[in-house]
Symmetry: C2
Subunit: 208 residues, 2 copies
């Protein structure tokens, strides 16, 4: 498409550089902004700029925050001896939404993936080790994606932590609630069968 204005072209390119937004959608967004009040474009522009330039990461757990220490880490009622290790703050959001977890978090900032050039030293693993070492941590819960990268990271960290007197656990894997067995993949189903649980565990779970 050839635009009659360089500004339109730059606007379309800007939106189209975001994931999941194509040129046509980008043009629709540009037209929307032109039709709307000038304040809307200004506030969106400002929000995007501030987002990237002013964002802070909690010095303790690496979660995004407006302060040096995030709300979870500074909360007095949280159990600081229980650390849940996640890939990024998106996972913290999901876990917090369950309302079930009362410990603190640790954000790795990614998963080990040699193929993508992500090695352990690029992730926040050393800071996790030193937290375990210094903060009298009792349990490290690994809440990583059930993928090859997640499992690799899980393996690496559990190995690094094996010399400390800390319990390392991982999220339970099995069939999801509300799903149908017919559509569960073979590996998940086979593993769920192997790690079957006594019936009592079902009725005392958080979903009741």
């Amino acid at each position: 498409m050839e635009f009659s204005s360089k500004l339109i072209e730059e606007g379309v390119q800007a939106f189209a550089s975001l994931p999941g937004i194509g040129k046509k959608t980008a043009l629709r967004l540009v037209i929307h902004l032109l039709h709307e009040d000038e304040d809307l474009a200004k506030s969106i522009s400002e929000a995007i700029y501030k987002l990237r330039t002013e964002i802070k990461y909690c010095k303790k757990c690496g979660n995004v925050s407006d302060k040096d220490i995030c709300d979870v880490c500074s909360h007095p009622a949280r159990d600081h001896q229980q650390i849940c290790v996640v890939e990024n703050f998106r996972d913290i959001l999901s876990l917090e939404n369950t309302g079930q977890y009362k410990g603190v978090y640790h954000t790795l900032g990614g998963l080990i993936s040699p193929l993508d050039g992500v090695h352990p030293e690029q992730l926040n693993i050393e800071s996790l080790i030193s937290r375990v070492q210094n903060d009298n941590v009792q349990e490290v819960i690994m809440a990583l994606n059930p993928t090859i990268e997640g499992d690799m990271t899980l393996f690496y960290i559990s190995k690094r932590l094996s010399k400390f007197p800390v319990k390392v656990t991982a999220l339970a894997r099995g069939v999801a609630f509300g799903g149908e067995l017919e559509f569960v993949d073979e590996i998940t189903l086979a593993r769920s069968l192997q790690s079957r649980q006594p019936y009592e565990n079902y009725i005392t779970g958080p979903h009741q």
Copy 2:
């Protein structure tokens, strides 16, 4: 969702205020921006801001442009006695992409729609009348959406232009090229039948 940072929340709200982008997609875009280089966020922010604050509209036809008079209006080879009336610059883009039109344009900025509170005086209709009056215009081609609003606008403008010695035409309506008759709606099919054309028109058309 409760975010651990006000900046994240504002970023999500900014993206979610755009049409077709929900909260989940907005959060995905925010995470993308945080992962990417700071320059990306800066350039997107700047493009959006400039887009809305620096955009100019051609003083002649109302098309978006970086100059006072747009490239189409200032082109010496364009036929200035033929004006194609469109709703917005998006339609100009579509028409220019056909490569078939050599006249100039006039952008209304909307369509008459009493239900939405859009009346003739809010659109660029007076400027069209004065162009027809002063520029020795031979033909006005109405290229408006085939909707009730489009037809209403078409009717209003053709009535206003009836006292001038100018030919008013409208885009042909009929079955689209490459479509299947089975899926054409009844009104379009009935009208195509009524305004059937001699076979010669088919083989001399621009699609050959």
